[in-house]
């Protein structure tokens, strides 16, 4: 999540923008969109799984469940990432 902190002041005139600056900006925009998408997914999934009947406030057990759900979801994200990269690099050899 810290990968999208800080935006560099890339040159705004097209002719001057270096390729590296553009790449960096694209990466940051991507990381941000990625994070937003991720938070949305976690919200949706964990609400569905941890809060069977909504009350007026979150009980402490629901909070704990949500917290663990998020940890597990992020761990799944990592696992998918690893499996994906492993498969892709395997194909390229």
């Amino acid at each position: 999540m810290s990968s999208f902190g800080g935006f560099n002041s890339a040159a705004s005139t097209p002719g001057v923008a270096r390729k590296e600056d553009v790449m960096q900006q694209v990466k940051q925009e991507l990381a941000l969109a990625n994070a937003q998408e991720l938070i949305n997914s976690i919200n949706k999934q964990c609400y569905k799984m941890c809060i069977p009947s909504p009350g007026t406030s979150l009980s402490s057990s629901e909070q704990a469940s949500l917290s663990r759900c998020m940890d597990k979801y992020l761990a799944s994200w990592d696992t998918v990432s690893r499996a994906y990269v492993a498969r892709v690099t395997q194909e390229n050899h």
Binding site: G15, E37, A64, D71, T79, Y84
Partner: protein, 92 residues
């Protein structure tokens, strides 16, 4: 990236837009994948780490979905080629 203007600039812009779209599509596919595999493989939150069973399940789910996508792509390309061929024949 924006070295010259004119028609070539248009091409570069178009290519950049296509690349962005591809990236977006990839990100969407990726997050759908994680969501699906999480839903299928994880059912309880007694701990905050994935146990071995869940880990294996997620890994297998990912690989299976990737293979599925590849096969769908292959079939699509085959069918598309057939369609183009048929259309070419009809056009004569």
């Amino acid at each position: 990236m924006y070295n010259n203007y004119g028609a070539s600039y248009q091409e570069q812009r178009l290519q950049q837009m296509m690349e962005q779209k591809q990236l977006k599509d990839f990100m969407r596919m990726y997050s759908n994948l994680v969501s699906r595999c999480f839903e299928d493989c994880v059912s309880e939150f007694t701990s905050n780490t994935l146990n071995d069973k869940e880990l294996t399940c997620v890994t297998r789910c990912t690989l299976k979905n990737m293979k599925l996508n590849e096969r769908i792509g292959q079939r699509f390309a085959e069918e598309n080629a057939k369609l183009m061929e048929d259309q070419a024949k009809m056009g004569r």
